[in-house]
Symmetry: C2
Subunit: 260 residues, 2 copies
DNA sequence: CGGCGCCTTGACGCTTGTCAAATGGTGTGG
DNA sequence: CCACACCATTTGACAAGCGTCAAGGCGCCG
């Protein structure tokens, strides 16, 4: 973990932009958010930002660049990835008003975050209705993704599960400026993909090969090109409604400067 | 759907009690909630209170008695139950700030709810910090349950999945005054249990028989007695942390009058 | 050059799904 | 009171999907 020397208000300007994309903030709202103590930080891949079972620290984070993921593990060590996060996502919104972490948040790639005071953000979220509403939308959209993942791992067969993950990543990466929906790079091993869809790495491999053989996708290492979006979406039973992408009032969030 | 003739403030008093259990409300908070337009209503089993794909109506509900569930279905008609709800649960908190429903909420049994104005509750949630905090806690605790269910259907084998569902129901029913953790009644068919844990009804049957044969539970129709809570919990890999039961400041919620 | 991840492939086995039929309880109508 | 239909549960035989184990290939880095 490595702290930048940038100033606090500049760091929180990322957060203001993101929240404004969810729900318009007036200057007073924006200033309240800007006043939250914050800094920019790097985390190396594999770093745990939140640990299951611990009390949340006072610092919580929003992704500026890189990818993060939520995960839980069974007592036998079997890992399940619960969601994947791109720039603009709040990694601690799910614990903002809970006193003990029920899952772990980990950096998937080299990760740049705005790290800000949990107590202060909580206070702003409760005292400024527009900020509260933006954060509510954010937290509820995430919860919607959890629900879709229950459906995905609980009710779909292997090819549909993997295809569904690809569709979600395609749209979310596109929304975060990480590629187009037709061509993107997944910085995950097949073992990690398996942990996300509830399959073994061996079966993920077979399934990806199958999707290639059917002409739905094309692979080059961890780069994916979607050959036929319509057919992939059908195979995946993918309906983007659950992402609540239209719950954004203006444009999507992208950080002010590349910054990474 | 059938409306009671009781007055509005009496209906909302259930909501005040529930919210106070999550976070203490002062008299001003309580009055703001009591002023939300509301009524008590019955729903018959199978009724859909929220429908996937629709815009939420202005009325949303909190359970007073009976059980409800959230579900989604794949395009092939495969159903997945996402969560089960007891008295005190808000059935629309997950859509409170979203403009389109991403899943369906259905009455599992005959269901009595407080039905209140969504717009008004939203306003109170944003303008009164204590109410907002109580609702946040409620919504985030639910999201935590979704995450555990992703783990359950994605990473556990059939016996553990079913056992885990039993453990959760045991604790939640106990918390809602619907039985003790050692003996309760599950008003679900084995097909519905299968839809909750991602198994076929036939395999649920075999699995339940297995749990009985191992001496973990005892069944009489849909009544369950837990013979050995420790061993069941171990078999289920059940850790109640994710229910965030301790996030309740005072006692649990139970409606003022039996009312059903 | 050698070692180490990760991906790939094949053979095999177990868990779970599918199909089908029997059992049993419950409510209804004769 | 019995006959019947209906539904959920139970059971068995079989099939299929996915997991497990193991070996080989490839790229990358020391």
């Amino acid at each position: 973990m490595q702290q930048d020397n940038g100033n606090h208000r500049e760091a929180m300007s990322h957060v203001v932009r993101k929240l404004s994309a969810r729900f318009p903030l007036n200057p007073v709202d924006a200033n309240a958010v800007l006043d939250v103590p914050a800094s920019l930080r790097w985390h190396e891949p594999g770093t745990h930002l939140v640990r299951e079972g611990e009390e949340p620290r006072d610092y919580c984070s929003m992704v500026v660049s890189g990818l993060a993921l939520r995960q839980k593990t069974t007592s036998s060590g079997q890992r399940q990835i619960i969601s994947i996060h791109v720039c603009g996502d709040f990694l601690d919104a799910q614990h903002l008003f809970l006193e003990r972490a029920d899952h772990t948040v980990e950096a998937l790639t080299r990760l740049r975050v705005v790290e800000f005071s949990r107590t202060s953000l909580r206070a702003v979220a409760l005292s400024r209705p527009n900020v509260g509403r933006a954060l509510w939308t954010e937290a509820l959209s995430e919860a919607s993704i959890f629900r879709e993942w229950v459906l995905n791992v609980g009710a779909r067969k292997a090819p549909a599960r993997v295809a569904h993950l690809l569709c979600e990543i395609a749209l979310r990466f596109e929304g975060a400026g990480l590629g187009s929906r037709d061509a993107f790079h997944i910085p995950m091993s097949q073992e990690q993909i398996g942990d996300a869809v509830g399959l073994t790495p061996v079966h993920v491999n077979r399934t990806l090969k199958g999707l290639s053989a059917d002409g739905l996708i094309e692979r080059d290492g961890r780069s994916i090109r979607i050959r036929n979006w319509e057919r992939l979406q059908t195979a995946a039973d993918f309906n983007p409604l659950y992402l609540h992408l239209q719950e954004t009032t203006r444009d999507q969030f992208t950080p002010l400067k590349a910054g990474a």
